[in-house]
Point group: C2
Chain length 211, copies 2
């Protein structure tokens, strides 16, 4: 398998974690988001959405959207599981995953920050304020969801799809110097994740294309 | 079942369609987003994420995040299916769903538009421009994905999860007078969906709380 990835892409980071958790090897193909390589015509052939990541199977079939890739991995390589078995528990893990993937991350990804600068004329300070605002808004919701649970991870004592989403989001929050003190349960889960080799090895600074 | 809903909530609209497609009855509970009722303490008891929709089961169990609810409906009430059987096909439908739910809608929902106005001082014209920019960006990607397919719906000849996402997004695009001419395949799928009673009955103007 090939994974089209960029060290700082949160969505690619999610899939790197999932592949590592499942013990699946992949060959990275580097697409430099900051240089706009994902908007080049040759990448449009790979991924019509012009987004990272793309997972390319050995027969050339390509999958897009990080959570669709993780659900496919779960269906084709079910062990170890990244979703619980019971439907209500699965719904909870998916809800936590989408809370990160649909409510926080989309507001803070590179193309949005570039648009704030280029089209809205926002200064870097204003962009940083925007970034931290949505981090705080979303992490407060995540903390409210997690605070009642005593598990080591987002759902119980085994890492899963929601943890694949949470960890890259916290990396982003740290990069933008967000105050993480209000989210103790979230940070306990993050710390537990980062003790695992599958998460550690997937982090941006340990990627071959890290700058 | 109870569905906490608001006539103009795209995410609630997705679930209304899915419930209708599966022939499941529900009792609507109206939460007025524009008046901020979702941010009241009593709704935080219902949904810690303070978002719509919430599906409440007869035993009081609550599910959150529209796509997590739809996946749960699919697992518990598999007929008629909203996802194909084959894993790669499922991945495609999920990818199209997330393209709407994670790349377009989060940039244009009410809380973001309110933030643009209140925190960034954007005028209504500027907010409308922002709205249409992300609609155009996302629908171009969706059109690129769909253009190669000849099915009546997003995937094949039966409506599914991706159609539950596409239709509310097109309603939003129309409300903001987006130019939809560049997306003929997307609009063909939209038109096919709207011929179905399950989609028609779920639309904002036909909800009891419509204004």
């Amino acid at each position: 398998m090939k994974l089209y990835t960029y060290f700082r892409s949160s969505a690619a980071f999610r899939v790197r974690i999932a592949l590592n958790l499942k013990g699946l090897k992949y060959e990275p193909v580097f697409v430099h988001l900051a240089k706009g390589e994902h908007r080049q015509p040759q990448y449009a052939q790979v991924n019509p959405q012009a987004l990272l990541p793309t997972l390319e199977l050995d027969d050339g079939t390509r999958l897009t959207q990080s959570l669709a890739i993780i659900e496919w991995l779960e269906e084709k390589h079910p062990t170890p599981p990244l979703l619980p078995k019971e439907p209500l528990a699965r719904a909870r893990v998916r809800s936590l995953s989408y809370l990160v993937a649909s409510e926080i991350h989309p507001l803070n990804n590179l193309r949005v920050l570039q648009h704030l600068k280029r089209a809205l004329g926002q200064t870097q300070d204003e962009i940083d304020t925007w970034y931290r605002y949505w981090i705080a808004d979303g992490l407060a919701k995540l903390e409210a969801e997690l605070a009642g649970s005593s598990g080591k991870f987002c759902h119980g004592d085994f890492p899963g799809m929601a943890d694949c989403c949470l960890v890259p989001q916290i990396f982003n929050a740290k990069r933008y110097s967000s105050d993480l003190a209000p989210y103790p349960t979230t940070m306990r889960v993050f710390d537990n994740c980062m003790k695992l080799e599958a998460f550690d090895r997937a982090q941006p600074s340990k990627q071959p294309d890290a700058e």
